[in-house]
Symmetry: C2
């Protein structure tokens, strides 16, 4: 099967690493000739809105998927006439707009943060009354890794926050800040027959909006069941095919949906070593109409992202059962350039190792 | 690090799949433009004896290794002046000639089969006296997957056997046939500081000279210790860097070395899923001067080779914890085109699954 991936970043790279052993071929479209996936398939270098390039790309493959979310949904619907696009373009479009996403969660009975959409500064004080403070002002579109977000602690911060984001296309959304105990994410996969597999959730730590680490599995079973129920409903709603990731806050024993990503997800990278079948392989199996693989974990896992630059490989690989993933990206503050995954028989062993890993693996947000 | 691999077959392909996450680049040289590794790096299409192409290839990389054994050792020694070649060309040269290999085993105190080298038919009856019958007449060079071998059961078979192989360059060797209980192989890896890791041996079943399956780990500890001692001596002898595989027969509680391969080996493919660090990753770590990874197994493993053509992917992947490896080779009787690895908590579970796997995974030797 020839798989076309929109986006040639690390997710595309890891998809190809999972799919090549299954006999699949990969084609990528990405604006950068240095895209990390370039070594693993055919790369078309073109902007994501280059309609002609997108059609050339799609016509060379059997199925189109995406690892990058900010591609035009209308363009993708045109592509869909020529080639199947999975997961559903509707899911992608919903995830592109924080307002649609919140409305989806609400319509499916999934608790989410208090929110108010707004376009004008004049609406802000009324919005703050509804969400309470602290709150976070976000762009509805194109936010990732903590970009497009400004916290508001005091009513006096509101004007400056608005000005920071005022030029964002697509409007803003004010979200009440959840005082959460934990943040977890669940990765799940649905195949073409409607069969669904859930990975155990991971427990994530973000720093400045960027995922720093994730422990898996998160074991509190009532919450795991809640997550499976919520994620299952989203999958059904879209007649979804492939991997979906949903981030939740845990507040007073309740899951509050934060956001969803209709693709393989950073918080599921530990599945490469720790799970019987990785999120990447299951996504591809779903696209190919193959049976999904089991999601049991062989060991406990700790994922640590390398942000800004890569760690010293010798130091990392001298730790027992620690695995290195270099995305081959040029170093730059704030950029995810790789990750490491540590496996062990117990959470305690991982927690013991964690300080060493955090010291070894860079996290450089600013230049 | 830029790794140059002589040979672009499935071993090169799996080396690249292991090395790309470590941030390595791959270059291959292979006479076939359809070489299975072509998708995973830069491929120079040239015969292995094309001196100019070999130098172009070597000059573009930091280290040269090989996945194909029948490359000219003198040419490799020339290459070695320009770029480090690992493992040692001496080890390669020894493994290319069954006579040198036997002599090495003997010189290191490693039991091996009875043997007599011969060039002329007239020497055959005397040789048979020394080895006894049944015996196997083999070409000293260029034998693999059961090719270049003819069994001799009765003295009357000898003349015909000789005629079958008489045109082989490099002479013949007659080996006494071992009535073995089991055949095991050990994969080990030695790094640039002299540190050595051993994988648990696998227990192999050949059919018509082609590896059909391997169960790991083989657990009889006195034999495992014998194997580690034998393999350790070979590694030391060559000041070896990288992965070495040695096949042994088990006869009356003694290991009898059959042959060695100075490279990653088919009987170690289960290490991809079953081991903390695969044979492919450890080979590359050794080449790069990185610390070796642990070789503990996470589960019990059963490897089954697909010979002639690939199995139906849906059927294979519907089995829990079974992993598919498609080398993307054109189907052809007798050709290894892929493998599957099954993992389970016990050998018993694997033995229960085995008949289904053997039925699903083709083994087609003849057209």
């Amino acid at each position: 099967m020839r798989v076309g991936v929109i986006g040639g970043g690390q997710l595309g790279r890891m998809l190809a690493l999972a799919g090549l052993p299954l006999g699949m071929d990969f084609h990528f479209i990405d604006p950068s000739p240095e895209a990390p996936a370039r070594e693993l398939g055919h790369l078309i270098v073109a902007p994501f809105d280059d309609r002609a390039a997108m059609f050339d790309f799609a016509q060379a493959v059997d199925v189109v998927t995406y690892e990058f979310e900010n591609v035009s949904a209308p363009l993708l619907r045109e592509v869909q006439v020529a080639r199947p696009v999975m997961p559903s373009t509707d899911a992608l479009e919903t995830s592109q707009d924080r307002l649609s996403e919140k409305r989806l969660f609400q319509s499916l009975g999934i608790p989410t943060t208090r929110y108010v959409a707004l376009d004008h500064e004049a609406e802000l004080s009324r919005a703050i009354e509804q969400t309470g403070l602290p709150a976070i002002l976000k762009t509805r579109r194109l936010g990732y890794d903590g970009r497009g977000q400004v916290p508001i602690y005091e009513p006096g911060d509101a004007g400056a926050a608005f000005q920071t984001l005022a030029n964002a296309p697509g409007g803003l959304i004010l979200e009440g800040r959840v005082v959460f105990e934990r943040e977890i994410s669940m990765v799940a996969c649905r195949d073409q027959t409607g069969a669904v597999v859930f990975y155990p959730p991971g427990e994530n730590v973000h720093q400045g909006g960027i995922l720093r680490s994730s422990y898996a599995p998160f074991r509190e079973s009532p919450l795991v069941r809640q997550a499976e129920s919520h994620v299952g409903r989203i999958l059904e709603h879209f007649d979804y095919i492939g991997v979906l990731a949903v981030e939740f806050f845990v507040e007073d024993g309740i899951l509050i949906a934060n956001e969803m990503a209709p693709r393989v997800h950073n918080s599921g990278h530990w599945t490469i070593e720790a799970s019987v079948t990785s999120q990447f392989e299951n996504h591809l199996r779903a696209l190919a109409g193959l049976p999904l693989g089991r999601t049991d974990m062989r060991q406990e896992a700790l994922l640590v992202n390398a942000v800004g630059r890569m760690p010293d490989a010798s130091a990392v690989l001298a730790c027992p059962d620690v695995h290195l993933h270099d995305y081959r990206k040029a170093p730059r503050p704030g950029r995810k350039v790789g990750h490491v995954t540590a496996l062990a028989d117990s959470r305690e062993s991982l927690e013991e190792l964690a300080p060493r890993l955090f010291e070894m693996v860079p996290f450089e947000r600013h230049g």
